[in-house]
Symmetry: D2
């Protein structure tokens, strides 16, 4: 459902073209300093603006509606809310009947009996990741010295990302990309056998981010082509230091104290200006659709900060579970 | 923790070299026919025996200790239990102090303060997947006409799997592999926004399987190198049939009615007979370790049926949620 | 935490004297007709105004911020939000240091390290039940023909409730009361062994309502003084009709098709104008406190509609679980 | 469902007349000393034997099947299992068609489509509380100096319990009773707003115990008849000591540091030897049923230790949540 987490639980709500959207963060330790401006740097990273991102401009002013007093978390649920402002649904009107290939338009309609909000993707919109990013800001602060950093390493198969995006724009098309995320320093032992392995929880939350189609840890898929002698990390001392980090910081589902390393595959934005075949649901006719509206040529450009949020939230929940983050922040 | 699932909830318990291991399945519809022999085919697939798998032989006789009467599920929790029989812990004795590289030995010890059961990996052992397979048998039966099938497509980078395993054995080493899983026919709309996307739930459970280091859906990582026009699946009719299936059967986190296609990366078995450096935790000295005991040269050989179980369990839970599987089986 | 429910999950957020408060309802079937005015009748019942209730006046205008479109639920989370308007915190200023006897002031402060919002009880305020009532309106609608009705049967030990309240007011004191709730017609079989018995779930949610100190089903405490032959309900036919309903509609944790009958004990409002001893937390001195501000002489007067909401939410979740409420409302 | 708890999670499984029954305890801190004999005192208290309890004799030998090594918890799930030995189902044969008034026989059959195990109540049997008691033993040990003690204060309306039981036996009838439970010393602040108040969690688990029909905290139902000035506990010092304990140790859903005091209403055993009317489900005829088999004249006699287990489990989970019980026990 729309909630995730055991001790730090986030709930996503809202729609792309409704009154707004937000996130409820339950379980945040009381006393954590939090001001609206703390959210700005990460929200700015997620926000559109660079070439290749949608021209839609949202101020994304986070409103701390509940759960803070005098600049600190109170221990009650935090609601971080964003009003929708730059909403122009007109471009989406025709989409109501002509579902975009690669998008949730049709399945959303099927699942919810046609009652879902189709405007701008509604509750399926990538815009909802603003709430995730806001929750990530809280989680990062709770993580203290643990730094979580993600970056786009490749787009459309090229390490020259600008070139890839330019080419896609020129072709009225879009491109996918790889995003890598690292986190350290981490204690050994985060993760809970059998079903809440660190990889399980991370992948669960990461695959909730729209457009993610693959997740790998450490050597990941490459490890599957190798020998055990190549990917085992030899152990150097009793503290668990290792000669290499092929495992990406996780053994047996538990963090091992090494840097956490994971990579995600971001598919190309589904909405493209180039014509594609779809169906008119009213008439049943096959039609061509060139998606207008405002879209990203490379949604992967905006994924790093969202991925960081997901990783930070999971790590934070596991740290709380281990008693490594206090229930009251002083 | 050791439970997973919302309406069909499985709990894994037991150890590799203790009295036994098992799985509790809660939420199984009453009336489902279940006999011990129903478990045999899938357990046989998981069982060791083929070249490249461990010489440990376990009869793996499933005991339906609770939850059935007269060959049918009663609606109460099912405990499927396996006694451990072929236990030889001697080979593991020295492992207590010399953690195997790539294994959970050291992190398990760190997390549980040295109180974890180290014999044969204890609760971290791949042997616990017998319980998962047993639960998968129940889930597959509940899925009815929906078929879930996985196969090893590549080992050590080779599609000639025998050759890859032979070479690894000869080198006292191990190899990883790719396993692909497909499921169909599936209804459109399985998955729950925002956090319980079909990919999220599947990846959560799949990453609980030991040795899995990557999961991708549809074109997965390859999609990240492509253009939107290449990976969008053009829509053919109002029912949602598409020209292609690059998405692997999932849009916006919901199944779209197409075949579900996913692939996992299985790392090489960590335990190898070839010497590797580790540390003696008692003395603090760096030592060489060649793992004796009985191990798989290619654990990926045994993964397909475990992966099927994971996929079937998630699909089953989502089908129950949609009311597509009755609470009483008649 | 601040969420409850398995298929229909409600999350409470907000504070008495902050920007507002609300409830997130996740899992509401798409298509359910919902307009702001649908909430008015139940909100009016909860609202202050009658003699014996607080003079605080809140318009309690429910804002459907998310999850509806064109007057129907979309299947995405519903946020029903209430802005706080009639906030006068001055009366509470001195309470920050002199915790009210019988209230959460001191324990809230202890639990949250002094960072909790103390104004008007903050997140502990009875005002948060407005969110619960709003969720109850949705649940009642989903329940269709199942009617849930509660009434105050006694206050301060008297069945003449007005008299009890008048006397309490005259004495600058407060009184408690009994509230009885009934629901029917209900199908047999709601409730989930072992831990989610119908009584368990109902009591869980009911005890979240401020001021409730006791819950009993059917003959309840009185049954404990009786013989089995007196409280067993003789069975009349194969459908399960019974001669009596001492069990209050629940056997073995499952509804039995009879009317659900439960009673709750509401303690007297803690805030009274009469002086009581407490401590000044700054000085450590024992002081007398006569609580000003605006309070109810008999909070039990406002409990019935809140209790109905709690009962309706639990029944609704159990009905969804049994597939008796569709996931899409047509 | 059949699991309860957030950090310490118990799962109940098994049947009265099947192969056995047990409890899985997940989340028990590694290192906790546990031997089979530790369970004996509490199991003995639950066991039948005293006048007024069933003549069924079960050795109730707890088998620690998983989760311990060398007399200590390993951190993996504990399975405490009891084989059924003294099973005589014959007496129950006729019950399959003539449901006992006041029992779960008929609703269990309705809910599970007739596939439930009817022998001795199957999964609804009070015998399953042996698993709860076993889990309680673990919880009590984790609670350390916090003592949880329950006692039967009244049976059939009489404080002379022996007399009440004798009279019921003579009348081939049964009687109910009151059980009071107290726990201390407790820290302030256990419980989680809004929905996981201490009362909510305690009542949830307590109402899972068969035959419980009412729960009250502190003055409970009596408080509803009183004035605020009578039931508020005046505060004596900054630590929160109070002049009285009408609240039973809970304010605003949080423990306040005072002794926890709660009382439960246990209804009379449903199975009585005296004839009662029920229906023959096969013929549809109304028949008289005098229940043979082996039953308790006063099941309340055996409730105290079960109630202690429930209370201890909830307190333990809340203490873990507050970091007051370490994740590794040294």
């Amino acid at each position: 459902m729309n909630s995730f987490g055991r001790l730090l639980r986030v709930s996503i709500l809202g729609e792309s073209h409704g009154s707004g959207l937000g996130v409820v963060i339950d379980g945040c330790p009381a006393g954590l300093p939090l001001a609206p401006e703390d959210f700005e740097p990460d929200l700015a990273r997620r926000r559109a603006g660079a070439k290749g991102t949608t021209p839609r401009r949202e101020a994304d002013v986070p409103r701390l509606k509940t759960g803070t007093l005098n600049g600190r978390a109170t221990g009650a649920p935090l609601l971080v809310w964003f009003d929708n402002e730059d909403v122009r649904s007109a471009a989406y009107d025709k989409l109501a009947d002509t579902p975009r290939p690669g998008h949730a338009d049709l399945v959303g309609r099927q699942k919810f009996g046609g009652f879902n909000d189709p405007r701008g993707g509604g509750h399926f919109s990538g815009r909802l990741t603003a709430g995730l990013v806001a929750a990530g800001v809280v989680a990062k602060r709770l993580l203290g010295e643990v730094k979580v950093q993600a970056r786009l390493t490749e787009a459309g198969g090229l390490s020259d990302i600008d070139r890839a995006v330019q080419e896609a724009l020129a072709a009225k098309d879009s491109v996918g990309g790889f995003v890598e995320c690292r986190a350290s320093p981490l204690p050994a032992g985060l993760g809970e056998p059998f079903f809440d392995s660190a990889e399980s929880l991370l992948a669960h939350l990461i695959f909730a981010i729209p457009a993610i189609k693959g997740v790998e840890f450490g050597d990941g898929f490459e490890a599957s082509r190798r020998r055990g002698s190549e990917v085992n990390d030899e152990i150097l001392d009793a503290a668990g230091r290792t000669r290499s980090n092929h495992a990406g910081g996780i053994n047996g589902g538990l963090t091992n104290g090494n840097e956490l390393v994971l990579r995600v595959a971001v598919k190309p934005t589904s909405s493209i200006s180039r014509a594609q075949r779809t169906v008119n649901l009213k008439t049943g006719e096959s039609v061509e659709l060139a998606v207008g509206g405002r879209h990203d040529a490379c949604i992967a450009l905006r994924v790093p900060v969202v991925l960081e949020a997901a990783v930070a939230l999971v790590l934070c929940d596991l740290m709380l579970l281990e008693g490594r983050i206090p229930r009251v922040w002083r």
